[in-house]
Symmetry: C2
Subunit: 483 residues, 2 copies
């Protein structure tokens, strides 16, 4: 049998490839794409992709990168009619950091000059030194996460603690690398808080099954859950990582997206540095950031970085070596990263416009987070924690037993069944909670808060109308799925 | 011991990560970077990175992508003073293919409209239909190769046939994925030709060691060896792949870089389609291309594609799923790819300039290929095949036994020893042949043919002078390393 198969026949593929699941672009997305082809209007809220839903790019960074792409414009006598002087100056600055413009491979860690700007940003943010040699630029944060997990995972006996619900980058990458996901549950009724006792139990249970737990992932602000971790919580997590000798992977790609004032974003690096030795010198921490999220939303550019703390130099060399195999991250996104960490300063020609555009987006996101939470909570079979940060709403849908039965008949997981019906009825393309993980017997969906603000009331009305009809079709007196 | 280590301590890293080697940015490159920091002038010929060595970008594609980055310019009344009308029209065309401009993630396979343009290019090139659904855009060709090998390699019992000398992307990726590289030797004395009998022997030997050979890599035009495969040779290879049920990975990233007329580039796809069934319907083929090479040299943009032939739909779905985990390739490079496969047409405003620039680069590369080959062959202990295509010269250096002894004393592989001395003496940063693989007891170096044409005589003089001094220091009467 084996002999008659070819290497790219399905039956003979690497099982790790076949085993991985990535719901954000899974069944729901594929069906939505089909419907779109057939002419139906689809609202793609399955992925945090702000520009796809009409968010305009910030002007200044686009001016700078456009000039870097067309450096011959810098000699054009008419250039000042089209581009402001500070954008021209910044383009010259970034070109001077490259060795041949955007068309030349950079060092595999990224341009040294941009890594220096990132380090300065981290120092300003945290109040602690940051070393450019320990910052690597990547094609989006996802690629960085994959590089690090590749170093950590040696076999299926290696476990990675991942929050549930989680962003499926983690589950998919762990499957692909042949490791084991060790879940720890976030508490929905505690505003998706993290209980360190749950962590201990998860680790103990994994160990009893022969798993070596090697790393822990936190997503702060949370995806899909939208919560901000408190400083006290972060301190407990770091202490736990120190005790258990775990590498902490801090996915902090939503650090600029905060929609309340009580719980600001605090970086894992800062909390770690605030702690006493030996913890501050012991815990291995990798922190991730990106140009895709924040109010920039430059997803399609694929720019990110990770910073390494307490990682031995020989390991840094190994990570560098592996990064070298694909030569270099794309250079234009490296420049977006430089611009994101060093935006126009007060007094610069473009400063006011930049601030106006940035505030406009962030304030609107804050209003949209509120509209969405309120919209979901106005349905009596839906409960939804407020989106404190990130760009998602993750309501729990209490499904009647008749709906669960109907899903079973249709061969679908109940929340997939619900989300498919929602898609067909309204064009709203969400991701079922089962794609992120959830406790047994409860059901969610994830939607981004990104549709245009003016469209939000109509979208939430359309959701409510669908949900009411769904409930009148499947509602019964036999009870709901449990809270 | 294991318990006291942390996951990112060197001793506890994934062994596959530690085992992989990537010489193109290895010891020589690191030493060159150090010397550059110390103020020494370095000629980086270690990697095919044309813009880093002064090649100017083609104007038209840069104009189009600059406009796509700054779409607000399209409404500027002064835009026509800076950009030609056909660049403006093409920018509007590409923006219409996106769903939110360059800042939005595209489909994980790339923009459908660009994939259609790639398919049309392949149809024109080969005279056979090409299906956009079987073309995936990638962040450079390397990423595509890694995705495909990830599907093929299941364990260290899976073998991949790789030419020796080879581009170390292959050896490094196979190590990283935990597979086994099965070498087949190219014949230096036959102008780096490929003998199918050698292939058979390699496969037989691997099988006798319990290896399942699953795929075969060809690099055409060759890297580092610079040869073009003949149609007859490609036909033998395809027949061999059919007999042995191997997937063929056709690395064709240098297809535009041809420096002679006797042996033009012919794609594996065309040769396969020219053959009779069952071969034409049986052989699984993946072909790779990029915007990094050719006369474009847009390495830093990170754009590539692969086309799949005879791959079952379920496997295509799996490859799509895995591509989805990192969401999408960067969008600006997708547009570069679109432009590369559909350049300005005769009659377009920018056509003449585009052709002038393109010809200028290609003709100069052809002259440089000749200058370099002749320069190496003018040294009596150096022999070098002519660079028929690609962008490298791969001379064999016959090292005297005294030099081999000195290298041994210094703890270095002999060609590394030679290349380090060359670097220190001249600033020329090459890659030792051992980084690509070579027969036992023979030594090479790889250099690109990319230094500016006007600098080439000086570089070759400087090489010759170094080599003469090296030979007078280490030369002896006891013989050379064998030819």
């Amino acid at each position: 049998m084996e002999m008659s198969l070819k290497a790219l026949d399905y039956e003979s593929l690497n099982e790790n490839v076949k085993n991985c699941q990535y719901a954000v672009r899974g069944e729901l997305y594929l069906r939505a794409s089909e419907l779109q082809k057939e002419g139906k209007k689809i609202i793609f809220t399955n992925v945090g992709n702000p520009h796809a839903l009409g968010q305009k790019p910030l002007t200044f960074p686009r001016q700078v990168v456009a000039l870097c792409q067309a450096p011959f414009l810098l000699d054009d006598p008419n250039i000042g009619m089209i581009f402001p002087a500070d954008a021209i100056a910044r383009a010259k600055h970034y070109l001077s950091l490259t060795s041949g413009g955007l068309g030349a491979y950079s060092d595999s860690r990224g341009l040294p000059g941009v890594r220096k700007e990132v380090a300065e940003f981290i120092e300003r943010r945290d109040g602690y030194p940051s070393d450019p040699e320990l910052i690597f630029l990547t094609d989006g944060a996802s690629k960085g996460v994959m590089q690090i997990l590749n170093c950590v995972i040696r076999s299926q006996k290696d476990g990675i603690l991942v929050p549930v619900p989680q962003y499926p980058l983690y589950s998919a990458t762990i499957s692909l690398l042949g490791g084991t996901l060790v879940p720890y549950y976030l508490e929905e009724s505690e505003n998706w808080g993290l209980d360190v006792n749950n962590l201990r139990q998860s680790v103990a249970q994994a160990r009893s099954q022969g798993i070596t737990v090697r790393a822990m992932v936190i997503i702060n602000p949370g995806n899909p859950t939208g919560q901000c971790l408190s400083e006290a919580n972060l301190r407990e997590i770091l202490r736990f990582c120190c005790d258990e000798r775990l590498v902490l992977l801090g996915d902090e790609v939503y650090q600029q997206n905060i929609y309340q004032d009580e719980r600001p974003f605090i970086s894992s690096k800062k909390v770690l540095m605030d702690m006493r030795a030996p913890i501050s010198k012991e815990v291995q921490l990798i922190s991730f950031h990106t140009v895709s999220k924040g109010y920039w939303g430059e997803c399609g550019q694929r720019g990110g970085y990770f910073e390494m703390t307490n990682i031995p130099p020989r390991t840094v060399e190994e990570i560098y070596k592996v990064a070298s195999i694909a030569l270099s991250p794309n250079v234009s996104a490296q420049i977006f990263m430089g611009l994101m960490v060093s935006p126009p300063k007060p007094g610069d020609i473009s400063h006011d416009q930049f601030v106006r555009e940035s505030k406009g987006i962030l304030e609107s996101l804050r209003r949209r987070a509120r509209m969405m939470t309120d919209g979901f909570n106005s349905c009596k079979n839906v409960v939804c924690n407020f989106t404190e940060g990130a760009m998602y709403s993750f309501p729990q849908i209490k499904l009647p037993s008749k709906a669960i039965e109907a899903a079973k008949q249709a061969g679908k997981v109940p929340d997939v069944f619900y989300c498919l019906k929602l898609l067909e009825a309204t064009g709203i393309s969400t991701v079922p909670g089962s794609g992120f993980g959830q406790k047994e017997g409860v059901f969610h969906l994830r939607t981004t808060i990104l549709p245009a603000e003016e469209e939000m009331p109509e979208i939430m009305d359309s959701f409510k109308k669908f949900n009411d009809e769904f409930m009148s079709q499947y509602g019964d007196n036999f009870g709901y799925s449990r809270m």
